[in-house]
Each structure stands twice: as structure tokens, then as C-alpha cells.
């Protein structure tokens, strides 16, 4: 049986400034009819470039040095642009990472689906419209008739992704390339998209290339898994065995970095002393405006407490209000209700004095934005030291520099980084500097707002390791906001589940699988794929 897609010794460079950059090196792979090949790698491994090479949509500075890409009997590299147009959509479909940008914002859904069907299946407009209705109904979208008349901004991300998947399958291609199709979606929505993928695949028997950074996820949806590193394919193995018997070092690294809820990283128990208690905290953004109804609150009367040295996880989907809690606790958002810190009542932002601001630190999600681009790392770290007087008692330049060096070493960065600018650091390094800045204040509570979300799994694992060792050194408590259920189950003592601004559950970690949890909590836990094997 011939392969649907077959790559042989494919090598590609990007021409950048001074010399060419090797992006793909001697890639050979096959996808059999009906097979799903999962492609895993960290950012920069070349997996996306590979997808673009297959789709024949490479940037201008790409140079293909050798190798072949064959779709069935067709040599894709030899095709003219016109011939390619007849292949795309009809024989290879693609589903993109972010459904919100993959649809033209100014055309109705119906028009975009039917134009594809008319073009790729040679249908009349009428027939294409009817088929579109059927396809949308088949991917469990309610009221396809109404949906077809809407514009992309009027429907949710999950609905958009369903529409894009329905369209891709509806053109009956031999192969569909999936480029991280659930990354931009919420956990539960993503899980349902995966279910849909599994069903459609079983029904149609289409072959697929499924690209993801998430090894656990890929091992569940794919038949075989290929692992990429720095432009090379380092390992190919059946999905069922890749976790059990990773052969290559990179695969082992990826396997080790995958958070497994049953593999706890924190074994101690926090003390009984309540460090911070939030009492009926509500956050409401956006002032009232003329002619407009007042906006709903971002969080509604949320109450919880954090004990000294505890790790409390807050989970929920985007828009659930979990970041608003962080904003309220740090005085970035006005709130109603009250906070008690070390027994001291804090009724509003004005009550947050120097002592509170020193004790409660926050690390933000995006490392790029959290460091001032016009200050060196040393300047950035010296500020909390001076402001809170947590630096050495006498502050001649030498001692300050030594203290900054110590802080950098504490977060496993060379002391010489003090003279660097933020744009000279990688994402993980920036996040370490942000963590060092927080710990410079000698805090008793550090709020981590999705700090691992933009990072690769291996970097994420090392950041978590760093946070845990810092906690062991300083005894700080963490309020860890995340949407990564598996990760938080490894480290948190308790988990708070938020939904639409309300706290629906606050559970000790060993009770999250219990029967009495909120149905939403159960959905959330079920939606997080844990590795197979």
C-alpha cells in the first residue's frame, strides 16, 4: 500500500542576515492511508515549517536544498502555483491553530464555507449551501441555518474551529494537516474538538498529520508519534509505546516534562496559620458610561484563604475571573469585599501599605511585557531591593551588585546577566528575572499568573522546579493561577475552581476526583488529557 504522504531526505534553510539557518535536516517520513501521525517538538524545532513545506506555503527566504515531498503519486515540489491551487483543499486540507484569525472577518460563515465547497467539490451554489448545512449539523453545531448567516465575530472560538474542521473534512481530502488545533481554545472546548476529530476520522478514514507541542495530547490522538528537535526527526514510535519506552534523549526529556497528576512534586503539608483571607471579593471593571448598561462583575463575591507556605491553585477557563483575583489582591483592580492579611484587614487598595506590597509579590504571564525594555536586568532587580530595604543594609554600589548577583544565581542565571537588556534574553530567562524580582522583596506570598503558559514544556518544567526550590528556601506561599490542570495537580495543596466569576469548588488536592465535586470541576478534570501508558 503506498503512503498518502511521503517525505524523503527533505532539507530546508532560511536565509537570514549573515548566513543560512538550517531549519529542516534530512526529514523522511510516511503517512499511510487512514493513519494519524503526531508530530511533536518544542518551539523552534521546525515542526511548523514542515507543515508549511507540505502545504507549499514557505516564506520567501526559504531555500529547499534537497529531498522530495510526495502526495500519493504527485510530487508536490514540482507543481506550478496553478496546479497547487488544485491540490490544496481538494487533496490536502489544513486546520489552523487559531480559528479566530483563520476566517475572514467581513464575510459570513455561510459564504466562506460554500465558496470552499463550490471551489473544491465543483458543486453549484445551491448544492454547496445544502451540503454546508449538513456538514455543520454533523459537527454538532446547533441551528446551522442561523450560523451560516453570521459573521465570525458573532460566534465562539469552539464553533469556529468546528466549522473549519467540518469544511476541511467536507472537501474529502486524502490528508489533513492539523496545526495545534486546540491550543487557542479552552480546556473543555479543546477536549470536545478532540472527540470530534476522533469521530470524523473514524467515519472518513482520512490520513492526518497532527502537529502539537503537547506530547500527552498527541499520544492520545495519533497512531504514531514523530519527535522533532532542531530540524531533525529524532524518533518515530507507535503512540502506545512512546511514553513507556522513549528511545531518544529528546523524547525522554519531553516525556519527563509532561506533567502527570499522579506524580506529585510537593509532599509537605502547609502550616495552619492563615496568611491571607479573601472575603467576598468582587471585581468590576469599566466604569458606567452614558447610554450603556453597566458591565457585569469580573468576579462575584469570591472567598478563600491561603495558609503560610501553601500552594493554592486557581483553575478555570479564560474569562472565568481567575486573573481578576490576582489583580484585586495586588491592588491593580478596585474590589469590594475584604482581604485579611496576617490578621490585618485590608478593605481597599488604599490600605495596601509598603509592608503588604513587600509581602505579596506577583509574577505575570508574559515575560516579554513584564520587564521594562529600557532597563538592564541589574536595574530591574535593584528597584525592589532599594524600595523595600531588603537589600544589604549598607548600599554602596559593590554590595548592591553582589546582592543582584546572588538573586540571579538564586534563579539559576549567571551573575553577569545583570548588565544585559531584556531583549537579549530568552523567554524562560526573562521569566526567571521576573521571579528574581519578586523574591528580591522577600515575600511571604507570590502570585503566579499563568506564568508557564507561554513557555515550552521543558522550560516550564524547569521553572516549576525553580519555584519549588525557592519555596523550600524561603517558605513563601504561592497562589498559582493556571489553566493547566495536570500541572497544578502536581504541585498544589488545594485547588480553587472558578467559572464565570464565581468560585464553584475549593478542594484539597486528593479530593478533586471525589464524587461530591461540582459537575463543572468533573468536566474540567476529565478534559485534561493525561498521557497514555
Amino acid at each position: 500500500m503506498t503512503a498518502v504522504l511521503s517525505l524523503r531526505d527533505y532539507t530546508l534553510d532560511y536565509l537570514t542576515g549573515s548566513r543560512p539557518l538550517r531549519v529542516l535536516q534530512d526529514i523522511s517520513l510516511d503517512i499511510a492511508p487512514g493513519e494519524v501521525l503526531g508530530l511533536v517538538g518544542e518551539s523552534g524545532s521546525g515542526k511548523s515549517t514542515l507543515a508549511w513545506a507540505i502545504m507549499r506555503h514557505l516564506p520567501k527566504n526559504a531555500r529547499e536544498l534537497s529531498g522530495s515531498i510526495r502526495l500519493g503519486d504527485t510530487d508536490l515540489r514540482g507543481l506550478s502555483p496553478r496546479a497547487l491551487t488544485r491540490i490544496r483543499g481538494r487533496r490536502i486540507g489544513m486546520v489552523f491553530q487559531d480559528p479566530s484569525t483563520a476566517l475572514n472577518p467581513t464575510l459570513t460563515i455561510g459564504r466562506q464555507v460554500t465558496e470552499t465547497l463550490v471551489n473544491n467539490r465543483g458543486l453549484t451554489r445551491r448544492a454547496a449551501w445544502d451540503l454546508a448545512l449538513e456538514l455543520l449539523g454533523h459537527v454538532e453545531l446547533r441551528d446551522p441555518e442561523a450560523l451560516m448567516r453570521r459573521y465570525p465575530h458573532e460566534i465562539s472560538g469552539g464553533e469556529k474551529q468546528r466549522i473549519l474542521i467540518a469544511t476541511a473534512f467536507g472537501c474529502r481530502p486524502e490528508l489533513i494537516v492539523f496545526d495545534e488545533p486546540t491550543t487557542a481554545l479552552d480546556v473543555i472546548t479543546g477536549a470536545r474538538i478532540l472527540d470530534l476529530f476522533a469521530r470524523l476520522r473514524a467515519e472518513t478514514g482520512v490520513a492526518a498529520l497532527y502537529i502539537s507541542h503537547d506530547l500527552a495530547l498527541v499520544s492520545r490522538v495519533a497512531d504514531r508519534v514523530a519527535v522533532m528537535k532542531k530540524g531533525r526527526l529524532v524518533e518515530e514510535a507507535p503512540a502506545a509505546s512512546i511514553f513507556a519506552r522513549p528511545a531518544h534523549e529528546e523524547t525522554r526529556k519531553l516525556v519527563a516534562a509532561v506533567p502527570r497528576p499522579e506524580h506529585r512534586l510537593v509532599h509537605d503539608r502547609p502550616g495552619d496559620r492563615v496568611l491571607l483571607a479573601a472575603e467576598a471579593v468582587s471585581v468590576r471593571y469599566a466604569r458606567r458610561r452614558l447610554f450603556r448598561p453597566p458591565p457585569p462583575p469580573a468576579t462575584h463575591a469570591v472567598g478563600f484563604d491561603i495558609r503560610a507556605g501553601e500552594i493554592l491553585g486557581i483553575v478555570g477557563e479564560s474569562g472565568s475571573g481567575k486573573s481578576s483575583i490576582a489583580r484585586a489582591l495586588t491592588g491593580l483592580a478596585d474590589f469590594s469585599g475584604g482581604i485579611r492579611f496576617d490578621g490585618r484587614p485590608i478593605g481597599s487598595v488604599r490600605d495596601m501599605d509598603g509592608a503588604y506590597r513587600r509581602a505579596v509579590q506577583i509574577v505575570f504571564q508574559h515575560p516579554d511585557g513584564s520587564l521594562n525594555p529600557r532597563q538592564t536586568v541589574g536595574e530591574i532587580l535593584s528597584r525592589p531591593l532599594k524600595l523595600f530595604g531588603t537589600g544589604p543594609a549598607d548600599l554602596p554600589a559593590g554590595n548592591l551588585a553582589a546582592e543582584i548577583g546572588r538573586l540571579l544565581e538564586q534563579v539559576r542565571l549567571p551573575a553577569a546577566y545583570a548588565t544585559r537588556w531584556p531583549h537579549q534574553l530568552s523567554g524562560g530567562e526573562k521569566q526567571r528575572v521576573a521571579i528574581a524580582r519578586a523574591f528580591a522583596a522577600k515575600p511571604s506570598l507570590v502570585i503566579c499568573d499563568e506564568i508557564t503558559a507561554p513557555l515550552d514544556v521543558s522550560v516550564q518544567a524547569s521553572i516549576i522546579e525553580l519555584l519549588l526550590s525557592l519555596r523550600a528556601e524561603t517558605g513563601a506561599a504561592y497562589l498559582f493561577i493556571t489553566h493547566d490542570i495536570n500541572l497544578i495537580r502536581q504541585i498544589a495543596h488545594r485547588i480553587a475552581v472558578m467559572r464565570r466569576g464565581e468560585l464553584v469548588d475549593l478542594l484539597p488536592i486528593d479530593a478533586v476526583d471525589a464524587d461530591h465535586v461540582h459537575p463543572y470541576t468533573r468536566d474540567l478534570m476529565a478534559a485534561s488529557p493525561t498521557p497514555v501508558g
Binding site: 488544485r86 483543499g89 475572514n104 472577518p105 467581513t106 471551489n119 465575530h153 476541511a168
Partner: protein, 315 residues
């Protein structure tokens, strides 16, 4: 687009006109000119001056004078010109009509040239057409209207004698003559706009061409022509509506100079004459009408944008 959004836009126009009226009234009040002296001349007797001050209400408190002026202006009564003794309102509105003819023609000419030019430059990014457009843009925005007007008149009217250098002919009386007389002013006015708008169209088109949904449209197998025409050009043209609206302000300023140079009796020239003669009612009327025109043009552009672009929810 909802009723409350339109209501808000309307309120904004009113606020704009209010601020502009305060500004114009304030500035003209500070003019070092005594209306009574301007009207009667330096040799008028004290009684005569006092009488006319009484009649014009110049002794009243300033806010009362303002309210009276605004109240009358709202009904189209801007008072009598100190220079000609004629009612200012109708005179200015007639002049505005001539200016709008010039402005609309300039915008049309600009659109016909700038939009294809900008798009061509974007589609052929980095190629000769792109570089040529870039050069034209740089040169275009660097020549003020009075220079363009003078140089064009020198070339096309004096040297080549193709077009009349100055004057205005109503298109209702002599359409051909009107076209010939409008050619130079329209060309001048549209040149700087072409430079600016072509540049903006280019960057908007590039943004759209690099967007995910254009890539998606290509990768789902749509022919390049469909991608460009149905998906790209349409979306790239939307922001141009706003850009053009903003340029109307620039155009109205430029019209003052252009009308002065080509002797077109539009609102810009009337304003220059009024400024030179320190004719307060004419200055006030001209400035207010011009600014209100711009505010309305901007609002119309916003409404057009809202109708065209389904993404924006006005609520």
C-alpha cells in the same frame, strides 16, 4: 450599529461644533479690532460709535454676546459682513458650495490614482512599482500646496499654455470651462493626498495580505484571483474610508491656499479676504462652517465604516 451609537455620534458632533464655536468666538473676540471702528471708519464721531456699539450689543457681557451669536448662527444668521454689508451666512454657504465641488473632485481624482497605486505597490512589494510608489509618496508629502500650485501653474498655464491659470466658472453655466478652470486646483489638491493615501493603502493591503485568513483562504485552495479580489482588497479598502475622512481636514486647510492662488471664490478665499480685512462676522462664519463640514464628513465616514465593516459592534 445601534440607535444609541448614532445618538452618541450625534452628541459628539454637537460637542465638536460647540467647542469650535467657543474657540472661533474666543479667538475673534481677541482680535485687535474694534467692530464699530471697522464699520464706520477712523473718523466717526464718538456718538455714532457709541450708537452702533449699542446696536451691536458690544457693551453686553461676553457670554451673552456669545450666546446671541450662537443663537443666531443656529438659524443661519451670521450677521452682516463689515466689508460688504451683505448677510454673511448665504455668502459663505455659496462659497462653501464652490469649495465642496473642488474638494469632492480632488478626493475622487485622488481615490482613482491612490488606491490602485497603493495596492499595486503592496501586491508587488519590493519590486519596481513599489519603489516608484514609495518615491512618489515621499516627494508628494514634502511639497506644500502653494509650491505645487505655483510650479504646476508655471508649467501647465504659463509655459505650455494648456490650462487657464486662474478664475472660476460655474459648471452649471459652462461645463467645459469649469473643467478647464478646475483642473489645476484639483490636481494640486489631490497630489499631496495621493502621496499620503497611496502610502496608507499600501500598508493596509500588506497587513491584510499577511493576515492568517488570507493564508487560510490560499491554503484551502481558492484561486489567487478570488483570494485577492474577494478576500484581500475588500478588507484593505475598509480603513481607507477613515484615512480619507481624516485627510478631508488637511484638504480643507489646503483649499485656503489653493483658492487664494487660483482665484476661486470659495470659502477659503472668502476667509483669507475676511482675515485681511478683519471682518469679524465673516471670519466667524467661515471658520465655523468649515469646521462643521469637517466634523460631519468624519461622522459620515464613521457611519460608512460601520455599515461596511461587520466586525465592529456599535452598542
Amino acid at each position: 450599529m445601534s440607535a444609541s451609537w448614532l445618538l452618541r455620534r450625534l452628541a459628539l458632533i454637537l460637542y465638536t461644533v460647540f467647542i469650535v464655536s467657543v474657540l472661533v468666538f474666543g479667538i475673534t473676540q481677541a482680535l485687535p479690532a474694534d467692530a464699530a471702528v471697522t464699520l464706520l471708519g477712523e473718523n466717526a464721531t464718538a456718538e455714532a460709535l457709541n450708537a452702533i456699539r449699542e446696536r451691536l450689543g458690544l457693551g453686553d457681557p461676553i457670554w451673552w454676546q456669545y450666546l446671541r451669536w450662537v443663537g443666531h448662527a443656529a438659524t443661519g444668521d451670521f450677521g452682516l459682513s463689515m466689508r460688504t454689508g451683505q448677510p454673511v451666512g448665504p455668502e459663505m454657504l455659496t462659497a462653501l458650495g464652490r469649495s465642496l465641488l473642488l474638494a469632492v473632485a480632488a478626493i475622487l481624482v485622488m481615490l482613482v490614482i491612490a488606491v490602485p497605486l497603493g495596492m499595486l505597490a503592496a501586491v508587488r512589494q519590493g519590486k519596481l512599482a513599489d519603489m516608484a510608489t514609495g518615491l512618489i509618496s515621499y516627494l508628494g508629502v514634502s511639497f506644500p500646496e502653494f509650491v505645487t500650485a505655483t510650479l504646476l501653474a508655471m508649467l501647465l498655464a504659463d509655459t505650455l499654455q494648456w490650462l487657464p491659470a486662474t478664475g472660476y466658472v460655474s459648471p452649471l453655466e459652462d461645463f467645459g470651462g469649469a473643467l478647464r478652470h478646475l483642473a489645476l486646483p484639483v490636481l494640486t489638491a489631490s497630489l499631496i493626498l495621493v502621496a499620503h493615501v497611496a502610502r496608507m493603502v499600501r500598508s493596509e493591503t500588506l497587513d491584510v495580505l499577511h493576515s492568517d485568513y488570507i493564508r487560510a483562504a490560499r491554503l484551502k485552495g481558492l484561486p489567487e484571483r478570488t483570494v485577492l479580489v474577494r478576500h484581500a482588497l475588500r478588507n484593505a479598502l475598509l480603513p481607507v474610508v477613515t484615512i480619507v475622512a481624516l485627510d478631508v481636514g488637511y484638504l480643507l486647510g489646503g483649499i485656503i491656499v489653493i483658492e487664494e492662488i487660483f482665484a476661486i471664490p470659495g470659502i477659503g478665499r472668502q476667509l483669507m479676504v475676511a482675515v485681511t480685512a478683519r471682518d469679524l462676522p465673516s471670519i466667524q462664519a467661515g471658520a465655523l462652517i468649515m469646521s462643521a463640514t469637517y466634523a460631519v464628513a468624519n461622522t459620515l465616514a464613521d457611519v460608512a465604516y460601520a455599515v461596511l465593516d461587520k466586525r465592529i459592534r456599535y452598542d
